[in-house]
Amino acid sequence: MANGENVPGPILAADGRPLRQSLARALRLQKLRALMLIAPLLIFILVTFAAPIADMLFRSVENAIVPDTLPLTVAALEDWDDASGQPPGEKVFAALRRDLLAAVAAKAHTKLGSRLNYEQTGVASLLRKTGRRVKRMEEDGDLAAQFAEVHKSWADPETWATIKRFSSAYTSGYFLNAVDAKLGATGIEARPENERIYIFLFERTLLLSVVITVACLLIGYPVAFLLATLPMRTSNMLMILVLLPFWTSLLVRTSAWKVLLQQQGVINDTLVFIGLVADDGRLAMINNQTGTIIAMTHILLPFMILPLYSVMRTIPPSYMRAAKSLGATDWTAFWRVYFPQSVPGIGAGAILVFILSIGYYITPELVGGTSGTFISNRIAYHISSSLNWGLAAALGVILLVVVLVLYWLYDRIIGIDNVKLG
């Protein structure tokens, strides 16, 4: 910067540097300082949260178990034409024998069996049985015949076609499974009628979420309207009635509904006492869709009321008065003047409730029975009971995409910076 004095052009800062440079440096430092403050948290979130989500995305397409367990067989199958209608030749069987010997030693063949069983029923038992007998096979004998003797499926080209179809390290199989389809001999095909479940579950999740959102809107709108038009002191008092459920543990509220809605519960007892319902005709309000809808509407209601309220507070009451003084009836003034201005609040509340509701797990699990459960309950089932993690991941990814699209909409309409708590 020594030549700074010689150049007449740029304005100089106190230390002799050109001002433009000096300012740019200050800005850079400022940016760097801001990033330094954010960095620890960003790294923390990336490791504890973003990496798990990425892992889930990866697991939904990962299929390394087949090429890892049967490397030689997969390579040998390359030359076999799965449309030929013939089982593959002796070379493939020899490769399979060596792969299986290694797999049995590593106890990996049962895992492979459960993986391929998702695509073709019966492969799990086939591999278990073959695993027990493969050591006794004679290497020089007719291997195809020996395998067919253990289990006739080895002579069936369909078995081999399945192995070949799922021999790559990545697969779309889980995603197809998640939308009730499968990769058949002729390409993507729908599963048989009696195996379809996920499309139905997705539909039910969306439908119930819509019902819950509408119920929250219908119940929440009058309350938000009342709170927004009452004097501040009164509305702050009443607001406590909305905030208390919001702050109370989810499980407390769910257990309260479980207690209230039971056949021998408080609501049924009261109805019987009043005489509205006969003692033997008690209403079934729990362990079905009714239970899910009632409990979740109650749980998500504050998420509808709070955004509605914050929008309605900003609507000047003079507009309604002006409309009335110009001759509008109460209804017209509300419907043509007030309501359109409250629409942003409806949008915010509805999207928020809908997003929260389609991913709900605890409440449907506890009060939903079998007819009131959501897709999330199925995901949990696949993780902890059926152990089909790939399918759980694929279902999770689909749900995540739906939520992210809605979230994007929410951001476009309201903006995430406007999220308010309490």
């Binding site: 504890t48 989500i53 697991r59 995540l400």
Partner: protein, 284 residues
Amino acid sequence: MAALPPYASTGQKAWYWGFRLICVLIFFFLIFPLLVIVPLSFNPLPYFTFTPGMLALEADAYSMVNYNDFFTNIDWQNALYNSVRIAPVATLLSVSLGTLAAIGLSQSHVPFRGAIMAVLISPMIVPLIISAAGMYFFYSRIGLQGTYVGVVLAHAALGIPFVIITVTATLVGFDRSLTRAAANLGANPVRTFFKVQAPLILPGVISGGLFAFITSFDEVVVVLFVGSAGQKTLPWQMFTGLREQISPTILAVATILVVISICLLTTVELLRRRSERLRGMSPQ
């Protein structure tokens, strides 16, 4: 809904009172489930409804047996111990990291602000079951599944969006000339932070911390997958209790939790008003 004018017609009067009645019913719907469990938790019999004796307000129809069970049963005490062990540590993590980041985010020039914000808020947006599934897969890979550390990290991640949102909201109203004045008077950045900025943003930090605490304290889905029997928390114990044999002790626990949430709500409300007063806003 202003007060009813004296010239209101009968229809208007009917609607005015009808509307209020509807609102009262809705408030009743909101609050009744929470209130009903309080008397029911004193029911000594293993039913979840009012016995005739309770309705007649007989003293011996009420009993503390469920509370006794909660305080003596080893399962419940373990669960309480685990909850108390996990939630504060997770809160501390999310508050310390979250406050730093919120201060960084509220600087005037932050590159990729939108993208960073989206990543930091994401634990609140992604459905819990998906977070739980992802964490279960990933934490079992790196050996954190079923450990205390794993659960604390997971809960800290879930609490962070709340800290970020409340603290950035407080910082929006923060007068930057105060820090400049402090620097001008010779305070270094650290001193400026602790003496000038921290006291002013403290209400936001505390209420963010309370949100983070309640998130961890109430959380059940993630701990269900990331934790193992050694990390069984209070909500987890309630969840198993509700799913399998529903024991009346749950109602006693629920009542205690309602009392705790009333305390938390009061604290947050007081903090909010204090913060608004400090920032010279009208007490709305």
